[in-house]
């Protein structure tokens, strides 16, 4: 590559840019999944890759998610770096056995003899009027599994940098893409192969009265809430977890030590969600600094409604503002 290559891209275009960069620079990177080669993926995340890198490295698979997960594991034990796409998170469950019982354990159970340097990509979350089974946020299922990294970008720049890091990571990464913001904004991204750090939160905005913690598409509403609070004279720090597991507790605790208050925002159900782990970590680590209880603004503990009611399920900006004001008042 010569000269700077800076483009205004959406999140899904940034995903494509990152995969293409890494395929260009590491011949071990291969891509597999349903409809990803000739069609370029149903969201077009892999568009153009087959023409550029050939069908041997960009592979349409039979329609079997469990097979995709396990095939990627076999490839990874041979030193390839597969990037496997699940068309929607709602179809990943038949692959859970492969992910939980093998991908996450291969290094441990062979005492480092074999490993699984692979990425499982899946679009997730609600808000795009999709059919049943296409809108859930079940990242907590993966965050609970030792040996997995769970990474969620919330902007085109972070999608580019975090996906590069995920592909280069020597261990398995579940990379969940918030499809509600696949095309919500464009951002200037330099196609320079520079990765962002995993296992690290991103502080998107500094503030002093409350720490708003979120990830994925909900970062949009969380930032809007911070704006609204600022207009009302309240200063909110906004942290994007970036890597859901393992969790960068240090950044969270530093922030809460400063603000004394935390509101956690996520689209997923409340019960057993990643927010519970974040809240417990804050309670354990910053108990003496807390001025108010840690509270959560989340989806409800019910089945994701079909799209006529999906907005009623998703946390809204006003919900976050109201929650923040409640803890600031304490």
């Amino acid at each position: 590559m010569s000269g700077s290559d800076i483009r205004d891209v959406t999140l899904v275009e940034a995903v494509n840019m990152a995969i293409a960069w890494e395929m260009e620079h590491d011949e071990n990177v291969v891509v597999l999944g349903e409809d990803i080669a000739t069609n370029g993926g149903v969201f077009r995340a892999t568009v153009g890759l087959k023409d550029r890198f050939g069908f041997k490295r960009v592979m349409d698979t039979p329609l079997a998610e469990n097979l995709i997960a396990g095939t990627a594991i076999g490839m990874a034990t041979q030193g390839l770096r597969p990037v496997a796409e699940f068309q929607f998170m709602g179809f990943i469950y038949s692959a859970m056995e492969q992910i939980v019982s093998h991908a996450s354990r291969m290094r441990n159970r062979t005492r480092g003899r074999l490993s699984c340097p692979l990425v499982y990509r899946a679009p997730f979350g609600g808000g795009i009027h999709a059919p049943e089974h296409h809108s859930e946020s079940t990242e907590a299922l993966f965050a609970h599994i030792p040996g997995l990294r769970v990474v969620i970008p919330s902007s085109p720049q972070r999608a580019y940098g975090l996906l590069l890091a995920a592909i280069r990571n020597p261990d398995p990464v579940v990379f969940l893409e918030p499809k509600r913001i696949y095309r919500a904004v464009t951002q200037s991204v330099e196609n320079n192969g520079e990765a962002l750090p995993l296992d690290t939160c991103f502080t998107l905005r500094e503030g002093s009265d409350v720490t708003l913690i979120s990830w994925g598409a909900s970062i949009m509403e969380t930032l809007e809430a911070a704006d609204a609070l600022a207009e009302q004279g309240m200063s909110a720090e906004v942290i994007d977890l970036g890597t859901i597991s393992p969790l960068d507790r240090e950044t969270l605790l530093c922030s809460v030590t400063k603000t004394g208050r935390a509101v956690i925002v996520h689209e997923a159900c409340r019960n057993g969600g990643v927010g519970a782990e974040v809240a417990a970590s804050i309670a354990e680590g910053a108990y003496l600094e807390l001025k108010a209880p840690v509270i959560r603004v989340t989806g409800y503990d019910t089945v994701m409604p079909y799209y006529r009611n999906e907005q009623a399920y998703l946390p809204q900006t006003d919900d976050i503002v109201e929650a923040a004001k409640r803890v600031i008042a304490l």
């Binding site: 291969v30 039979p62 396990g70 095939t71 076999g74 159970r109 062979t110 074999l114 040996g147 296992d199």
Partner: protein, 359 residues
């Protein structure tokens, strides 16, 4: 109406139950040293197996799945594979592991509750033992796909039991092997039993081998207690696979002569008469009879071999029993290439709590 596709499944057998040739033997029979090496591995595997069961019974090893009745099939797999091929096992493949160079002490460590039992110094690319049924089939096609992507003349053997073929992983994987023309041979060791469930309950198909046809692969049946039939079929299938001619499914028909594991009691679900009939077809005895009949073997050589195998196993047992448990911190040390910051406090806690070593 016209017929679009007709299929056949061939079945191969060379020796009768007493080890007498039924007709001409395949070329594999001409290499006496190779045949004797196979016989030695079968006897060593059986010696190891009976010792492992004894260790479990005396509290020195965990639950262990006996390989009794699989020795011939497993040895033929080991022998037909090149060292550069990759073996993808399930959990009753001791004969193949031993042939390929996995240390007996490593196998004991695995079943004795120690992760180092899968660190396999001499088979660096073979997949570890797969306990979740049939899941290994998907890994096998992934390994084979990697070979194909890189244009290598290598192949994969994936082992699975008859019960495992009922799972989607098997069907999905043979399907991919057909669609992608992958160098992988699926070896279905049909030992008639999935714990207590007989083969007849697993499928209404007459044979398991014919499932290959639906995946676009050839299907073969061999008498898994007939060394020559098994090794010839495997040699041919692997030769085709390495030459880029695609994979195969081989159903090796044998019988699980032991319990499912040391935690099982097979007398609850199968008769003594059935078991006796299966013992009459034992493949090790059959090959021994053949070797005697051809003048390649003698009672003295048999005694020497038995004594040698016992010494080898005793040495491995001693090494296993002398291996101290890993420090408890090891549970954190291989999870990731580098332990993430977030997990360091937990590792420190383990180190503090068990400063004096494991409990």
């Amino acid at each position: 109406m016209k017929t679009i596709h007709e299929f056949s499944v061939d079945s191969v057998r060379y020796l009768d139950d007493h080890g007498r040739p039924l007709g001409d033997l395949p070329p594999q029979a001409e290499d006496t040293e190779r045949v004797l090496a196979a016989y030695r591995n079968m006897v060593l595997t059986r010696t190891f197996d009976s010792k492992a069961i004894a260790l479990q019974r005396t509290g020195k090893c965990g639950t262990y799945p006996s390989v009794l009745g699989h020795e011939v099939t497993g040895t033929a797999i080991g022998q037909s594979m090149a060292q550069t091929d990759v073996f993808v096992p399930y959990y009753r493949d001791q004969a193949t592991h031993i042939f390929r160079g996995v240390a007996l002490s490593e196998l004991l460590l695995y079943w004795g509750g120690d992760e180092r039992g899968s660190a396999w110094q001499h088979c660096p690319q073979d997949l570890p033992i797969a306990v979740p049924i049939a899941t290994q089939c998907c890994h096998a096609v992934g390994v084979a796909a990697a070979m194909r992507i890189r244009g290598e003349a290598r192949a994969v053997v994936c082992c699975i039991g008859d019960g495992g073929t009922s799972k989607g992983d098997f069907t999905e994987s043979i399907n991919l092997a057909g669609a992608w023309h992958l160098p992988v041979v699926f070896m279905v060791v049909n030992n008639q039993w999935a714990i207590s469930t007989p083969r007849s309950i697993q499928t209404g198909a007459e044979t398991i081998a014919q499932k290959a046809i639906g995946a676009g692969l050839p299907g073969h049946i061999v008498d898994g207690n007939d060394y020559f039939a098994t090794v010839e079929t495997l040699d041919n299938a692997l030769g085709r696979a390495r030459a880029g001619k695609g994979g195969a499914v081989i159903e090796a028909v044998t019988y699980r002569l032991g319990d499912h594991t040391t935690a099982d009691d097979a007398t609850r679900y199968r008769s003594a008469e059935d078991l006796k009939q299966a013992w009459d077809k034992d493949g090790i005895k059959r090959l021994q009879n053949y070797l005697h009949g051809e003048g390649f073997w003698s009672p003295d050589r048999e005694r020497e071999l038995q004594a040698e195998c016992k010494r080898t196993v005793d040495k491995a047992v001693a090494a296993y029993l002398a291996t101290e448990a890993e420090p408890p911190t090891a549970m954190m040390d291989y999870l990731f290439e580098t332990l993430p910051e977030a997990l360091k406090p937990q590792r420190d806690r383990i180190a503090d709590k068990y400063r004096g070593g494991a409990l």
